[in-house]
Point group: C2
Chain length 206, copies 2
DNA sequence: CAGGAACCGTACCGTACGGTACTGATTATT
DNA sequence: AATAATCAGTACCGTACGGTACGGTTCCTG
């Protein structure tokens, strides 16, 4: 698994953007090498010269996009309980927004589709760069909150998992399967609030 | 969306079983009409006569399998708090087992793959017959527990969603992407216990 | 026994797509 | 200016697969 960030030329990033655009609003079916070349305004031959083969191009798309996940804002060195609450809600809200975005849906579908064909590299990349990254950062935040005496848990990682579950519930799976959010779920900010309140009820000290 | 349970002849169910078997241990790539016919010991022509086309056959696979979800054991008319706990753990454990099963993984991947191609019928079927079914049953259980004074919540459906999130966390997405469960997650029974305890801490009255 | 339905096996067709080869134009280099 | 390199555009090839056609066999029915 190659997790080192590669550098692409501007020409190549243009190709990746074009491909992502096609994927997002045409589905996997629209992501043919010919279509990508046309959209990017280059020849198929150049595609193959720059990326090797189709799978490598797909990997480049995911690798590039997954590393764009926004890192939860740097936890302040000294923070209050309210600041913790706010930081968690911000994290949850951001997570919901990402998960429900067209781009995230398209990329996850693509990776799962590849997994269904026996190739797990895209999925691993997505997990490592996407979830792993954001998870690690948030775990740090939780540990700081514990050190400050606001939270109490055995394992920060386990607590993070609980938070993750409380926030996403089955929303991600549903959107991947093609379900649309119910009206009362449209308000992502409120969903985030509720999830964080639940989380704090489980782990807050006082 | 056709959600009425269709009846298949034994010959046809044999085909569906063969196809599911192929899908589970060969991935979507192995699910060609020729392979299905060979595995089922029939001709391609019969396949098309019986199911119409490939998509209809896929729909039949999912439709048939999704309706096999085990309904949470009938809630007893009068039950204790311990019985509620046990029923919830049983539900959670069962849910985890299903979600981590090869069959569930393969079917969800297939449905998501189709969604990536712009066809959401498989996904809808999976949601309606699988998650919808089991969810509705469990919501009934929660309502009974509320009536008995054990639980307190505004919306049983929302409470069910929280339970769902606490149980699954990100496990389903991870297995769909090809991740394997971490060692400490292998013990599904214990995961279920922890999730239910969290749930009760959030919603128990006393 | 005769007629027909069901169905297997196989051959076949059309198409879509990944990947490659060639050509001509444009740009960079000396 | 001459040569080399890059690349768009297009044509082409091989293969895989969905779907169909057909001949032959089995089995049921009158």
């Amino acid at each position: 698994m190659n997790d080192t960030a590669q550098q692409f030329t501007t020409r190549q990033t243009a190709v990746l953007d074009a491909a992502l655009s096609l994927l997002v609003d045409g589905g996997e079916k629209a992501l043919t090498t010919a279509a990508i070349a046309k959209e990017a305004g280059c020849s198929k031959e150049s595609l193959y010269k720059w990326f090797g083969d189709r799978d490598a191009l797909l990997a480049a798309i995911i690798s590039r996009q997954a590393s764009k996940v926004r890192i939860p804002q740097a936890p302040k060195l000294s923070f209050t309980e309210m600041a913790l609450h706010e930081a968690l809600v911000d994290f949850a809200h951001n997570l919901l927004q990402v998960i429900c975005s067209e781009v995230s849906i398209a990329l996850n579908r693509l990776a799962i589709s590849q997994a269904s064909k026996g190739d797990y590299t895209l999925g691993k990349t997505l997990l490592n760069r996407g979830r792993g990254h954001i998870g690690a950062q948030t775990t740090v935040l939780l540990r700081q909150a514990e050190a400050a005496g606001f939270l109490k848990f055995d394992s920060a990682e386990a607590a993070y998992q609980v938070l993750y579950g409380l926030v996403l519930q089955d929303i991600q799976l549903r959107v991947l399967l093609g379900d649309s959010l119910r009206p009362e779920e449209q308000n992502l900010k409120q969903l985030a609030e509720v999830a964080v309140n639940h989380f704090l009820k489980l782990y807050q000290t006082n």
